[in-house]
Symmetry: none
Subunit: 203 residues, 4 copies
Amino acid sequence: MRADALRNRERIISAAREMFVEQGADVPMDEVARRAGVGNATLYRHFPDRDELIHRVTLHVMERIIDQADSALTEETDAFEALGRFVHAAAEERIGALCPLISQAGDAKDHPETVEAGERLDRAINTLMERARSAGLLRPDVAVGDLMVAVTQLTRPLPGDGCSGFDGYVHRHLQLLLDGLRAPARSELPGSAATLEDLRQLS
Amino acid sequence: MRADALRNRERIISAAREMFVEQGADVPMDEVARRAGVGNATLYRHFPDRDELIHRVTLHVMERIIDQADSALTEETDAFEALGRFVHAAAEERIGALCPLISQAGDAKDHPETVEAGERLDRAINTLMERARSAGLLRPDVAVGDLMVAVTQLTRPLPGDGCSGFDGYVHRHLQLLLDGLRAPARSELPGSAATLEDLRQLS
Amino acid sequence: MRADALRNRERIISAAREMFVEQGADVPMDEVARRAGVGNATLYRHFPDRDELIHRVTLHVMERIIDQADSALTEETDAFEALGRFVHAAAEERIGALCPLISQAGDAKDHPETVEAGERLDRAINTLMERARSAGLLRPDVAVGDLMVAVTQLTRPLPGDGCSGFDGYVHRHLQLLLDGLRAPARSELPGSAATLEDLRQLS
Amino acid sequence: MRADALRNRERIISAAREMFVEQGADVPMDEVARRAGVGNATLYRHFPDRDELIHRVTLHVMERIIDQADSALTEETDAFEALGRFVHAAAEERIGALCPLISQAGDAKDHPETVEAGERLDRAINTLMERARSAGLLRPDVAVGDLMVAVTQLTRPLPGDGCSGFDGYVHRHLQLLLDGLRAPARSELPGSAATLEDLRQLS
DNA sequence: AATGAATGAGGGTTCATTCAT
DNA sequence: AATGAATGAACCCTCATTCAT
């Protein structure tokens, strides 16, 4: 790929990520192109339709979240602290805004690359959780899917514009969740623990 | 109001609530009308535009949630059990699908009726929380806004169709939240406690 | 017809005339009904469709204009003064706003009542003009159709709202027209003199 | 601008002008597009809404009328003949059908380009009138606004379709007006002379 | 490869007219 | 007779996607 084409591709993904965060997946494609500083047809050359664009943006954010999980694992000594750091870092990566998009992107969620990235993400977070669980700090009845769905949901932006003021509260709610995750369990959870793969097949 | 008109109005609200839950606030108005079994112009006679329809649906659900809070307060003896019952009942009322709609309905969130219903909701839930807090069962550093936002977020449906399989997991996550809410607090929360009014003004 | 029905009919015609003058023939029927203080279905009972309403309003104004012609004939001694008085009076009757409506009312302009009223109007104005012509005050190469079309056009309101400020100028332009009608003719007119019947058949 | 886009733009303006003349400002936008041989969205790309389309069409016709005024000034020796030629030429440019549209186009009449074109038009016609007035051929108590409103009104098409037969009479009425404008004045005019700017501010 | 331009399908809303009370 | 309510067709406008330069 030519160097300028690659640069365009990256600018489009970056613009799309920003706009998806701010305005959701329904943002007009022309607006994405304009924010990226390219013509609309250039956008379509790189991403044949909206689904493909969403697909690539979500893959991109999954990679970043995997990186965050790895960093937290490496750089934090306390196992539960590592989990907490990861949770708050995932929020900053806008997991709540971006990951749910995949359910709007046709069959993208079953695409091999998505599945594969999901597996790596599952492994990375599972490692984090396993370490905390082994240390007796994490309640034993939760799995990666539980954590990721809860974090995603708690950090989802409200539809429509302008509710960005809520961001300040998000970390409070994540902290409440983390307190609920701490061992020992204070109640019995209904249902059963879910992996990311379980969730993917459900959706 | 004429009897048939009232019946139509109720059928429209009911259809709209169902479709908002299933497909979000962007459902075509004509589809809502069709589901309600009326012509599209009948819908517009009752609700001059989409904002008004959303406004009335959200008011309706707020009333139902207030009722749930009152029931929980009356019928449960354990104060924390009451809170838990209310949280799960609010999920069943689809608080996560319906309350966020108000931010998509223009100025509806500042409408006097919405404000007033919000105040009553705040009082009802505050009573529930106060009772649990007095009994030493609820951590003292949370307020109504914290609870309601977290519950709303955790129960929001994913965008797009068909992810209804997640519903089974929602109650797990609510339970995690409730465990995090229990006294004693396991960590210090960032930021400060919010009332519903605080949140309304933010949004 | 019952007394209250007759009263309603008159209120509707009156409301329609006002609104046609202010907003043109495209005013919503429901608005006419509201201005008249009746239900919309009552309007439709009296006038089966918009064309019929326009038809009746224009007949009504034609009668009033005939009256104005008769008054001018009777009450003015100078024959050209009588013509001038009539022209300005027709403007006040909103001939320019109301008579053109008939061309928007389907086949109403060929309705026997319209034809008959047109004939009476033609006779009345012709009498006025003939008297002025006999007195050597009116140029001989103009007929009723010329006068009425020119007066109608010069007094037509602009489409859209709010241009009522123009009214002040209308009488200036009518006066210019009257000066052009005075004998002796200052130029030769193209085409030939037209009766109202000529015009009706054209339109 | 690309050559094909420019061609489309001109075809749209041309189609719109024809249809505005025939059917008024309320023609469906889709019909204009169809007459122009383009898709409806192409029309909207060039003219974001109906107001903008009207705005551009009226600007276009104003330019053509200015040209007519200049031609009449240059090519006619007799000063009143020049005025007469201009008046009839303005009628052929459909001034009566097109200029009133501007009052239906939102704030277009206060748009700088419209104001500026109006000023040039005022100057061009004022030159014509001044020359005739200096030659003692034009009555002194009229101004540009008087002339233009009268010409516009006398040449306005009737609402609705099909009354094109009237066109033959229009030049008769313009001639009557011109005879009324000739010096010496045969009566005193009510009100005061108006410039185009006066009229714009009124409307 | 990049892009401005074109397009057709779809959704929101209005309104003339008809229906039911 | 009077009326509030219901309706479907029409129109404006947007946008995802394709085409032509």
